[in-house]
Assembly symmetry: C2
Homo-oligomer: 370 residues x 2
């Protein structure tokens, strides 16, 4: 629990922008339906706030990674369909049923476990079948599908409501694996009883109609990450992260800044110390590479990022703007999550899921944004 006047940083999540992003995708893929991926606490943005906002806008299907995430989501979403990607760990099948969660069955072992569990109860419980088409991570592969063909008793005891697969390279429009996985998914799903199908996550939503099938499953795009890295971002920005300046210091050569003395001051200037560090998910790899926005100016991060602090060179700004108590934008209109990820040497997904617990979080709906 954080207090806005105590907190060193403020994280603002625009729920209206998330809803707008969901609608934009829905228009693009109709008549395919759009499930919302809210795993990892809605990519760090708060599933308990994000999911109800999407449900209110008409989203009736949600996707999480783990059983505990599903149980938590069910407490705020009594009605919608909830898929759990990682499927049941042995012995947890009853929990899925108790909370009306649909497991994604990723292997013959999970499928058999679910079938055995089903036999003990009444009625065949719903499940999704994950067909691996080239990730080699989770999913029933071609060999297992052949073995499954010889076990009609297993499939008869589950109620498959969705066949799904994951694209490995959907963010690279021209990657040959996209077409290969599409063909393999169609061929392998054809060996199963007919059921709704789903292949596309955020990237796949923008690969054309052939990839949409009956349902798409965006996550990153809902939260404003660019699902088409080779083209301008079609999604609305969702996140604003502001850090408070604790102190502004006049410096001159030959001083150095921060741990390891990695930044050497070359002349008169001013350094602002901001109350955000790598313990807040402001990656240490941003040391001497990251930026913040202040007064419309992009100011460079200097020295190493500390656990609780980061320093910025604000020499370009007057003291009326760069002063203790002022807020710098770490993520916002002038610097997107994808921009920060590029500076940090990672992807926007990891910047979002790393957002720390000390940020004071607030959720707004567009019109409150000012």
């Amino acid at each position: 629990m954080t207090n806005p006047s105590h907190a060193g940083s403020l994280l603002t999540v625009d729920l209206a922008a998330i809803v707008a992003n969901w609608r934009l995708i829905a228009q693009g893929v109709a008549p395919a339906k759009v499930a919302a991926v809210v795993k990892a606490d809605a990519y760090g943005l708060g599933a308990a706030r994000v999911a109800p906002a999407l449900a209110a806008a008409g989203c009736d299907t949600f996707v999480v990674a783990t059983l505990d995430e599903g149980i938590a989501l069910r407490t705020v979403l009594p009605e919608p369909v909830i898929f759990v990607l990682n499927g049941p760990l042995p012995g947890t099948e009853g929990e899925f049923l108790a909370h009306a969660l649909i497991p994604v069955l990723n292997s013959l072992a999970q499928l058999t476990g679910w079938a055995n569990f089903a036999r003990a109860g009444s009625g065949a419980p719903a499940a999704a079948l994950h067909i691996d088409t080239g990730m080699n991570r989770l999913g029933i592969d071609e060999l297992e599908l052949e073995r499954l063909a010889g076990r009609p008793d297993v499939l008869a005891r589950v109620r498959p409501v969705l066949a799904l697969s994951h694209l490995a390279c959907a963010d690279e429009r021209s990657h040959p694996m996209n077409a290969e996985q599409l063909a393999r998914f169609t061929r392998l799903a054809g060996q199963l009883p007919a059921m709704p199908m789903s292949l596309a996550a955020s990237g796949g939503c923008f690969l054309g109609r052939a990839f949409h099938f009956d349902m798409v499953r965006p996550g990153a795009a809902l939260y404003g990450l660019n699902p088409t890295p080779d083209r301008p971002n079609p999604m609305a920005q969702v996140v604003r992260l502001q850090g408070k300046i604790l102190q502004v210091r006049d410096v001159d050569s030959p001083r150095t800044v921060g741990y390891g003395a990695t930044h050497r001051v070359t002349g008169p200037g001013r350094i602002a110390t901001v109350a955000v560090g790598y313990a807040d998910g402001w990656f240490r790899s941003l040391g001497n590479r990251g930026h913040a926005m202040l007064g419309g100016v992009k100011v460079p991060l200097v020295g190493r990022v500390s656990m609780d602090l980061a320093c910025f060179d604000v020499s370009a700004l007057p003291p009326e703007i760069a002063h203790p108590g002022a807020l710098v934008d770490l993520i916002g209109a002038g610097q997107t999550v994808d921009d920060v990820a590029a500076d940090a040497g990672t992807i926007g997904y990891e910047i979002l899921t790393a957002l720390g617990a000390r940020h004071h979080r607030r959720w707004i709906s567009g019109e409150d944004a000012a």
Copy 2:
């Protein structure tokens, strides 16, 4: 809230090892006292469990970064001294007093704010003074100290109980800044009224008696990170992180593994998919570089780390050991936090503070470790 049977990963924190590390440092620096740094939720290990264990062992002084961390710690530690490194944001001074937290005053502005606040109340409230000796991050610098000398009224209204500073390069024993900062700290503190002094964090505890002054402030070393990177680690290991195998898959060329198809299978083998990903703080930079321990064997992480999953090549192990439901050690006796940090291209501090909320956490005390 996580359930151990539902969770994809288990994080075990050995409180007895933390206490042993605190005692080892106490023996080494006596008669200097040893405060425990428990900021950032005790480096991700749970301040509400770590701090009381240390208090029970005799630690009576704790250090956090932010006001909210101080308030939270006060609820579990009614008696001990608690320093708050970032000092008061304007308007929060009353909260410090209400929770008996001692602010570290980092600038003339913070010092003046505290003095003005003190004037309004009765009695001069305790504060620590942070003297910057070369970090140029937070702290009162030489220029400000000179200005302060002309303002005896300001110092008269606070009750300074500690002068502290931070070493920039304490992890490099032979770095010339260590001696420079030591000399500057002694010289600048001499311009203030006499009071207890503190310079050393984990690294400084091992730089020799001259660096210990009246109090040392280890954090990282308490949690098992090596405070002497050029020599064997004198600290006991504290953390064990285990991930559950969800699936084991037979693979052969020409398959690829994971997003971006960055790992190419070169022959028959087996891939285990573990329920830990970068949303759990298992850094994406560990892709094709990280490892896990299983059955005494170091198994390589293959492909990219996903948000919720990571894949390991377990071809070297028989199916009786590498099977769904088995636990791999991601951090433990065979692979320390520092080892993981080296693979990830960062420092152990960031590995600890990034440990995610989905790990099922348990705290043990040595004898329960088996």
